[in-house]
Symmetry: C2
Subunit: 342 residues, 2 copies
DNA sequence: TTGTAGGCGTTATCAG
DNA sequence: CTGATAACGCCTACAA
């Protein structure tokens, strides 16, 4: 009881017909008479025939598989994107091959290589923090693999993108803080070569300036994305001579770190200091006080990405210009920034 | 600039040698002279040759791919398992194909079918809540696919398993509650046909009974795994005539629901009522009060699963008896159950 | 409507 | 050490 996978030839022999007829019948080719078609399909079912997708892919030159490269699978944002992608792709009979880059350029290069060997039809990627250059991606473009970027994209690369309006998300958050009466707002940012952090920072800067406020030199902290760094950054801010009255973090995790630091110092959120994060990680709604954050519409981003791919895939090869779709963020106002509420 | 993938034949032609020599050189076959080997490898690198894994898989009859079927990718436990699996598998040159069953039997069957078509070498599965029977799995066994189950397993199936000692995790939790002085302990359970919930329930029952306490009829609530159901169950318990003084939930999410319900009623955790969950979801450590939970050693479970697979894979086919490995849980005691601390 | 005859890119067997 | 040849399972001109 092992390994004996049944092939179209076996079925052909059993039925006394040729294997091409079997192949056609299995694919419901109308050129085959109904009786034979039914006979073939019945026998196939009965014998538990499973088409060998390696063989057919090799023959066809396509394998109905797309690769996904993301920094971490256990981020709420990314696992939601996966959900959206699979919903659309599976329905269309495609498979998804998921790879994690662990935010390292090296691993990302390895992932690309693996996916190219697998001859995937498309690659969806959200860049690793470590990806300072994207030469490894140009490679796929030459090979006719449909490359699509999302969230963390390289705007210099001429490929289709689906992104969030990070600028607007940040702008709304900071506007909201100002409306709540906060005036000395610090920003925890990420690496500047990553578009999302760059854009969030710009949104922060503009929102503050448009309100006629100033940004002291040391109020923008680069590379504060983790809980640990948020804790450390907040702690040292409290000891400085320019203690802020609010923190807008580009990451929920660094916002969390800040909140823990504030609690340790006996300061009250939102009354002494307001805190807002970004990404709407599930824990933000469960904390006490709950953390104001920005929802990234992640499931929809996945769906759109997949739909765009399928569209391009079936399109006649007129190589349309690459397009960038921008989704709208949603500000979720929670207790951590509400000090005027009653 | 499209699609023109270079093959071993191209390389052979360029070098004026045969393609079998190229193939061997690429695989570092020692029978090929060093000069030719180097020439081939250099040219291959220079031309950006990427082996076509579909062709080689078809020929070899193996494709170095294993499939993973899990209920939800965005559960902390499962994404950690994925991390552990990939760590080991990628190192060995294997790929992982991830499928979500969404806890539905129907999708699980579809996933199995997909993976079988893909001719994966192994399938790792953690059963959907909806999988009342496992006939669809027997299918892979006949086909020589190495099936391995983890966490939510079917103990009647004769396959390799990696599981957590859920009984012990539950037993420890309840023992701890009793030590803290709680006496009227309710249990939120899951479907009884799923081993993990069955075992957690047994651990709960035994821990209570061994302490000489009784379990009132209505103290074991089936199918309370979500936040919503936890909230509802807790609310109705508070209105009953046998209000408990502690809740041991088989899921962190239903524990969370209960805590929210208690907060809404103005009751104090842990002083009025103690609450403990299961799975060590990240939010459990971040709540106020932090939720006592059981860590499932998830990354290690993934690693062990993958190692066991590789072992079987390379073993000479003496079809060793399937084995079950059981990991030890770790009770994480947090504020939500600590009312005696000082 | 069906059959015949390649060939997709690799690798394995068998000669040389 | 290297080359010719066949085969993995499927699909598709082309022919009948």
């Amino acid at each position: 009881m092992k390994k004996n996978n049944i092939t179209i030839h076996d079925i052909a022999k059993m039925l006394g017909i040729s294997s091409s007829t079997v192949s056609r019948a299995l694919n419901n080719n109308p050129r085959i008479s109904k009786p034979t078609r039914e006979a073939v399909n019945n026998l196939a079912k009965q014998e538990g025939y499973q088409p060998n997708s390696m063989a057919s892919s090799l023959r066809i030159g396509k394998n109905k598989t797309v690769g996904l490269i993301i920094p971490h699978i256990n981020r709420h944002f990314f696992s939601n994107v996966i959900g959206g992608i699979e919903e659309v792709l599976n329905y269309a009979g495609y498979n998804l091959m998921i790879c994690q880059s662990d935010d390292s350029l090296e691993k990302e290069i390895q992932n690309i290589k693996t996916l190219m060997n697998l001859r995937v039809e498309g690659i969806f990627i959200s860049l690793a923090l470590g990806s300072i250059n994207t030469d490894h991606l140009r490679n796929c473009l030459n090979k006719g693999v449909k490359l699509m970027m999302f969230d963390r994209v390289d705007e210099n690369l001429s490929v289709d993108c689906v992104v969030l309006n990070d600028y607007e998300g940040a702008y709304m958050s900071v506007k909201h803080l100002i409306e709540q009466g906060y005036r000395k707002i610090v920003h925890f940012s990420g690496p500047d070569h990553i578009n999302v952090y760059h854009n969030r920072k710009q949104g922060y800067i503009d929102a503050v300036k448009h309100s006629g406020l100033e940004i002291p030199e040391n109020y923008i902290l680069q590379d504060v994305l983790t809980r640990e760094k948020g804790y450390a950054a907040c702690t040292s801010l409290l000891q400085s001579n320019q203690v802020p009255d609010a923190i807008f973090a580009a990451s929920d995790f660094s916002a969390l770190g800040a909140m823990i630091a504030l609690k340790d110092k006996g300061l009250s959120v939102p009354y002494d200091i307001g805190v807002a994060g970004f990404a709407n990680e599930p824990f933000t709604a469960l904390m006490e006080p709950a953390l104001t954050s920005v929802d990234q519409n992640s499931i929809e981003m996945g769906r759109i990405l997949a739909r765009l791919f399928l569209e391009k895939d079936s399109a006649v090869e007129i190589s349309t210009q690459p397009q960038t779709l921008t989704l709208t963020p949603k500000l979720l106002i929670r207790k951590s920034t509400l000090r005027n509420s009653e």
